[in-house]
């Protein structure tokens, strides 16, 4: 089996040494966590430069995760869109069914190298929770996953999956009872158990070094895609499309292409019931700059600076902030950010399912929906590469509910 050919580039030009992406990012946390973040940053820089560590990570990605994930030309989806060719990066075929495992495999190896025996994680849709519980089981670590009570209800099968894997799932009743509240609770746990515990943050948000570290662990997606595009199509894609909640799958795809300025980048946010109202989770499209969960970034708040409740049919995008690197990519103009509504995402879910026999996660369905819109405006010789970040098995209950069915 082929090992991924590309080495880890290590920390790149952003963030700077203090963890800032231009004016975004940074480390806005209570003093109690600062030493732990410094320790984590040192470990990350040290181990990602260590050939033995990188070799073990590459081997795990190949033999445990199942990388490289294929590119798939979606012929019938392309016909339905009527324009550019739509190619899917099949992160849904990874072990545990999403891109999340790329990051948890990396962070768990880091935790072990740092001598931590207990890991904690926050989760929205449950994919990151499952991916964390999975690697914890394999490395024989104690695992606690924080999940908003609303998400526990929406994603019951993933909750059970985590329990089967030996994790404790803590249902968080505070606030909007979704991902942001799970993240608050995980931070509280970390502050209280900082000596023994490694916090496996699931998205490219939070205080430095998480945004850069999670990006780097997911950048295998974009590195592979680049090689695969050249091998299979002899060119780079004309556009990249990925959904953005916190933004880890999008950054994983985008990051290796940032310097390829002919490749357009589109991040797709959850427009929920529409961007004109408040029932959405599109912080880049409709938010403003503030400080949440340890970094300065775009977020959704009211005029008093209180974080707003958000809405998306997809639990994994239902988050009022976004990773600071996306904020930086937006302001620099390198990437563009757009919104897809619940209804559009559900339509795309059904289309991909019926046309290609691939059931996407509702998060990824947002990217599919926009990928089709974009392709329709482009010519047939062009290529739109969509990150199919996860599979939809976890969402069939939610989809059934939208049709008035209960399974």
């Amino acid at each position: 089996m082929a090992e991924p050919a590309i080495r880890y580039p290590g920390p790149l030009q952003v963030p700077d040494a203090s963890g800032h992406f231009g004016k975004f990012g940074g480390r806005f946390v209570s003093e109690t966590l600062m030493a732990a973040l410094e320790e984590l940053e040192l470990a990350w820089r040290t181990y990602l430069a260590d050939p033995d560590f990188v070799a073990e990570l590459d081997a795990d990605l190949a033999h445990y995760v199942g990388r490289p994930s294929p590119l798939y030309f979606a012929r019938r989806l392309t016909e339905a869109a009527g324009g550019a060719r739509i190619v899917l990066k099949r992160e849904d075929l990874n072990h545990t069914g999403a891109h999340k495992i790329n990051n948890t495999v990396g962070q768990a190896l880091l935790a072990r190298a740092m001598g931590k025996r207990r890991v904690i994680a926050e989760t929205g849709a449950g994919q990151h929770g499952v991916a964390s519980a999975t690697v914890a089981a394999r490395l024989d670590m104690e695992c606690v996953v924080y999940m908003g009570a609303e998400d526990v209800r929406r994603q019951a099968t993933n909750v059970y999956r985590m329990k089967l894997l030996g994790a404790e799932v803590v249902s968080v009743e505070a606030g909007s009872r979704t991902l942001k509240d799970a993240l608050n609770e995980a931070m509280r746990d970390w502050v209280s158990n900082v000596d023994s515990t490694f916090y496996i943050l699931g998205t490219a948000a939070g205080p430095h070094p998480y945004p850069a570290m999670v990006r780097d662990f997911n950048a295998v997606v974009g590195r592979e895609a680049k090689v695969q595009m050249m091998d299979e199509y002899g060119c780079l894609p004309d556009a990249l499309v990925a959904c953005v909640g916190g933004g880890s799958n999008a950054l994983g795809l985008f990051h290796p292409f940032v310097d390829d300025t002919d490749v357009a980048m589109y991040g797709v946010e959850a427009a929920g019931r529409g961007l004109s109202g408040l029932a959405h989770a599109a912080s880049l499209c409709a938010g403003r700059v503030g400080v949440l969960h340890g970094s300065r970034t775009y977020l959704l708040d009211d005029d008093a600076g209180q974080i707003r409740h958000t809405h998306s049919v997809s639990a994994g995008l239902d988050y009022p902030g976004v990773g600071p690197e996306h904020a930086w990519l937006k302001d620099s103009g390198r990437a563009r950010y757009v919104g897809i509504t619940d209804e559009q995402a559900l339509t795309a879910f059904h289309q991909l399912t019926r046309l290609e026999g691939i059931m996407p996660a509702l998060e990824s369905a947002h990217a599919i929906a926009y990928g089709m819109q974009l392709a329709a405006r482009m010519s047939p010789e062009q290529i739109v590469l969509v990150n199919l970040s996860g599979r939809g098995d976890k969402d069939i209950q939610t989809v059934a509910e939208t049709e008035g069915l209960s399974l």
Binding site: S18, G26, R27, F28, V29, S30, E31, T32, L33, M34, A35, A36, E38, A174, G175, K180, D181, N184, M187, R188, V191, S192, N193, V194, D195, V289, G290, V291, L292, H293, G294, R296, L299, D301, D303, A304, G305, Q306, I307
Partner: protein, 278 residues
């Protein structure tokens, strides 16, 4: 020298340790907060810490989370918090007020405007929980321009390098977080406090207050032997949660803080002299 410096200097002179109660502004009801602040002073509070409610209090435990949620539900916004401080100042010119809160509501107002409005209302210092020394410079300058101190936290996990940097920026007093955890945690270990506090004393050059996990008079007294000030938050807020009227809130505040004050004063004499002499 602002009201906070004058207060600590006066306390040092008479050998009294500062009792610093924390309450969340607007909890349990916005109309009662000013009365609660006065009641705290009557019961022996020397410095008041007033929490600005926020929707996502990442460093706080369940008691203050709940207090913030109730305060926000009751319509407590930043303008209202400032109005409370102004109203308090009409009857109390001397007791320093420290605002404690999180970054985002300050960002939304704008740091300069926030600092200027806070000073005009009668605030003396600001503690932003999620603004460590590394990110503090713009904020500290805005506050300093208005003569306000920025209070910084020092934690058991703070490294010596960080400690030096924090002490460089800190004004007013240094707030030592007595445990690894969130506010209101139950496991304060008094024996573990002595060593870090004496290390901190060497660097600080400012009065030292200790908070997190202090809930009983006996604990407050033990901490008063080692520090210049004792912060009590969740234990008081938890009691106030049960108040059904302003009168009850005032009564609960006095009943809780009175014994704490007495216990702290009872140990005043046998405590080693403060390193800080103004």
């Amino acid at each position: 020298m602002n009201r906070l410096d004058r207060r600590f200097a006066a306390l040092a002179e008479c050998g009294r340790r500062a009792l610093i109660p924390y309450i969340t502004a607007g909890h349990p009801h916005p109309d009662w907060t000013v009365d609660i602040l006065h009641a705290a002073v009557s019961a022996g509070a020397d410095v008041l810490e007033l929490g600005v409610p926020f929707s996502d209090v990442m460093a706080d435990g369940p008691v203050i989370q709940n207090a913030c949620a109730r305060a926000l539900e009751a319509g407590t916004d930043f303008d209202r918090v400032l109005a409370m401080v102004e109203a308090f100042r009409r009857d109390d010119e001397d007791t320093p007020i420290v605002l404690m809160g999180y970054m985002n509501p300050i960002e939304r107002r704008g740091q300069e405007r926030f600092a200027s409005q806070a000073r005009q209302a009668g605030v003396d210092a600001v503690l932003v929980v999620d603004c460590p020394a590394d990110e503090a410079e713009p904020m500290r300058q805005c506050l300093a321009a208005e003569g306000l101190h920025q209070i910084f936290l020092v934690a058991p996990t703070t490294t010596p390098e960080r400690l030096a940097r924090i002490c460089n920026l800190a004004g007013g007093f240094v707030y030592y977080v007595s445990l690894k955890g969130v506010t209101g945690a139950a496991s304060l270990d008094l024996d573990s406090l002595a060593a870090p506090l004496s290390r901190l004393r060497k660097h600080a050059g400012l009065p030292i207050a200790v908070g997190f996990g202090i809930r009983e008079p006996a604990q407050a007294a033990a901490v008063a032997r080692m520090a210049d000030g004792v912060v009590i938050g969740s234990a008081l807020v938890n009691r106030l949660d049960r108040a059904g009227s302003a009168e009850q809130a005032v009564e609960l505040t006095g009943a809780f803080l009175g014994p704490v004050r007495a216990a702290m004063d009872a140990v005043g004499e046998d405590r080693p002299a403060s390193a800080v002499n103004h």
